[in-house]
Symmetry: C2
Subunit: 143 residues, 2 copies
């Protein structure tokens, strides 16, 4: 069983949201705001990592913290709250002592994973080129 992701690559101008939003002076437009909102979330330090960690299993607060080395309680809380507010994860409190709270991806959060994977694949494939370019640039411009 495999999912199929289809991307339209316009040979002729079939303007995508991105193209249109670039034309029309991006920020301020509705599309500009949508893109900015999403970029703010995936561009921050922890969101994508949290989503990735939840991709297969529902996890508790402390378990998440163990899976994501370096994250502080504060940032884990904040990140989880934002993801919950945006409808990307759910937070379930079980009425027990001691308290048990579980987080899991929503379907919407699941679709974000596809994006994250495309991003990660591009990053990993092209990072060597980027590093080489940086080295060359630094060599040419240092004094």
């Amino acid at each position: 069983m495999a999912t199929t992701l289809t991307i339209e690559l316009p040979g002729e101008p079939t303007p995508t949201g991105y193209e249109r939003s670039c034309e029309e002076a991006s920020p301020g437009s509705d599309h500009g705001r949508a893109i900015r909102d999403v970029l703010d979330r995936i561009g921050d330090k922890w969101s994508l990592l949290v989503v990735g960690t939840l991709r297969r299993e529902r996890l508790r607060f402390t378990e998440l913290q163990r899976h994501i080395p370096g994250i502080s309680q504060r940032m884990l809380t904040l990140t989880l709250r934002q993801l919950e507010r945006d409808g990307l994860i759910t937070r379930t409190v079980h009425a027990e002592v001691p308290p048990r709270v579980e987080y899991e991806l929503t379907p919407l959060g699941g679709t974000l994973i596809q994006l994250a994977m495309a991003l990660a694949d591009w990053a990993i494939e092209n990072h060597p080129r980027i590093e080489d370019s940086r080295a060359a640039y630094d060599a040419a411009h240092q004094r």
Copy 2:
């Protein structure tokens, strides 16, 4: 006329870079660094906008500034320098008076466009859901 690119997304564990980097305590690992580097670039305020503006035409400094309302000279310069250092755009100085400097995408920069489009499409398609979720969350948690 449009080309169709179809990608098989494995339903069974064929770990992608993203998945692997989530497993292995992302930051610190090589993949973690690659992803972070790319995220830092596309997550910032102007890079994606600059790349998008250059997607079809080579442009001069002032032209870029006109196409991207709100960007300051300083931020345009900084953004262009980083993109150039990462090998995503080229900077060509023509020996003329007055000076003429033109920026254009490299092939590597061109591949970034694909990413940007996937991102933008996801953002535009899902933004309504996100906004609804936010409204619901805020209504439920306000005091």
